[in-house]
């Protein structure tokens, strides 16, 4: 997925998010992809995206929550 495609997918995923917290799962996956795309060349952007993935994972009780939390904590970001 190119950065442009990822951006479009994120916009769409935000539009599709509703009161059902499972609808946040695509955001977790897409922000995690954005983290991977930017890490390690652009750590500011990378951890910005990872933070967003973590927040949506927390909100939706996503299975990756602990893993994302652990990465942020190890990086001194939490």
């Amino acid at each position: 997925m190119t950065p442009e495609e990822l951006n479009d997918a994120l916009v769409l995923a935000h539009q599709n998010a509703d009161l059902n917290s499972d609808s946040l799962h695509p955001l977790v996956n897409l922000y995690h992809q954005a983290f991977t795309l930017n890490f390690p060349e652009n750590p500011v952007a990378a951890y910005f995206y990872l933070t967003n993935a973590y927040v949506y994972a927390l909100d939706s009780n996503h299975e990756s929550t602990e893993q994302l939390e652990s990465i942020l904590r190890d990086a001194g970001r939490l």
């Binding site: 952007a45 927390l58 939706s60 970001r77 939490l78």
Partner: protein
């Protein structure tokens, strides 16, 4: 003595020569606001029912007298109540009932709180991708917790936090109805209804407290439960109401009755009690069902009544039993609707400038006077 204490002195007299609360307690925006703080925020006040948040993670926002509150069922089954306000920018956290699983996330900047109200994370608070800041201490920024207590599925809160514990405040009533401290199950959608009434909330309490009006306002009820079959219930500064000695169980088309609550003593075979738990919760107990009413004061002359019925057995899909519950709810709805013209009429009557609070029947109105006495004591608390 303060002006208010002097004005309310006749209310504090014994019922034999007491007068009721002055008109302004029903018609004045200023007094409505005074009672909001001294009566409704300063005591254990009903704001809703646990049945509205049955599952872990269920959250329901409630705006009570302008205060945004959030009822949440945690993963241990307990009900917690928070101020529904983010500690960051004061944003409303949850604006519709929903299941929030494990986290309350503010929709503005995504500060996240767990179901105990603890601040879990503050994304980007230290700059993009940096989620901590030396000046932001999560331990100090949990949600404001509102003291709460669940009893007979009513969610009671003490908004200003000054009241003694619920179990101490209502020790006597909890003991009186201890036999009903057992599982009870909401009857389902047909056992739930709401009435909007053009009256001050106190008039709904006052009407509920007494049986004096039954012969004229509830002729159907009075045909088998006569005035002389009732007794007064009064506990100074806590509750008042009425009881009947001739409760008759509702039968269905095959003469079935609802299952009884377990282990009740013989006094409940034909006995039932209806008590106003001050300030705004009305409860009724019978051998085979309970009901709760939460009065939500909307304004000085508008009140919303939420009524919920509960049974000893979990409702199932059996059509006949469902119809039976529906009939019971209809019966109570009829009774409560019969009261509307009375409470609305008393509200309108209080715009008669010469009305002086009224005189109570010493024989019949003491539970109502008990409530007036309590309200007067609350609004003058701390005044000389």
């Amino acid at each position: 003595m303060s002006d208010r204490t002097i004005q309310l002195k006749p209310v504090m007299n014994p019922v034999e020569n007491a007068r009721g609360l002055p008109n302004e307690h029903y018609t004045s925006d200023q007094v409505f606001d005074l009672e909001k703080r001294t009566v409704l925020f300063a005591n254990w006040t009903g704001i809703g029912f646990g049945k509205d948040i049955p599952e872990p993670g269920d959250a329901k926002p409630v705006t009570f007298l302008g205060v945004p509150l959030l009822m949440v069922r945690d993963h241990d089954g307990n009900v917690n109540v928070f101020q529904n306000t983010c500690r960051h920018r004061g944003m409303i956290l949850v604006d519709k009932p929903k299941n929030i699983k494990r986290i309350i996330r503010c929709p503005y900047h995504s500060w996240c709180y767990d179901l105990n109200g603890d601040l879990k994370t503050t994304p980007h608070v230290g700059g993009p991708g940096q989620n901590t800041h030396a000046n932001i201490c999560p331990e100090e920024l949990g949600l404001f917790t509102i003291r709460s207590y669940l009893w007979h599925d009513v969610v009671f809160v003490n908004i200003d936090g000054t009241m003694q514990d619920f179990e101490i405040s209502h020790q006597e009533l909890m003991s009186r109805w201890k036999e009903f401290d057992q599982p009870h199950f909401h009857g389902g959608p047909e056992s739930s209804f709401t009435l909007e009434v053009n009256t001050n909330w106190k008039l709904a309490v006052e009407n509920y407290c007494e049986s004096y009006h039954l012969p004229w306002v509830h002729p159907g009820l009075n045909s088998y439960s006569r005035l002389e079959d009732h007794y007064h219930i009064e506990q100074r500064d806590t509750y008042s109401g009425q009881g009947t000695l001739v409760y008759q169980q509702l039968t269905d088309t095959d003469n079935n009755v609802f299952a009884d609550f377990e282990g009740l003593s013989a006094r409940w075979d034909k006995g039932a009690e209806y008590i106003a738990v001050y300030p705004n919760v009305l409860l009724g107990v019978h051998r085979d069902h309970l009901f709760g009413i939460v009065l939500e004061p909307i304004s000085k002359d508008k009140t919303r009544e939420q009524i919920e019925l509960y049974y000893a057995q979990k409702p199932d899909d059996d059509l006949q039993r469902r119809q039976h519950r529906t009939e019971n709810a209809k019966l109570w709805k009829t009774v409560f609707e019969e009261d509307i013209f009375v409470v609305e009429g008393m509200q309108r009557g209080r715009y008669g400038e010469q009305f002086d609070g009224g005189r109570f029947s010493p024989a019949m109105d003491s539970p109502t006077h008990n409530f007036h006495h309590w309200v007067a004591s609350q609004v003058t608390r701390g005044e000389p």
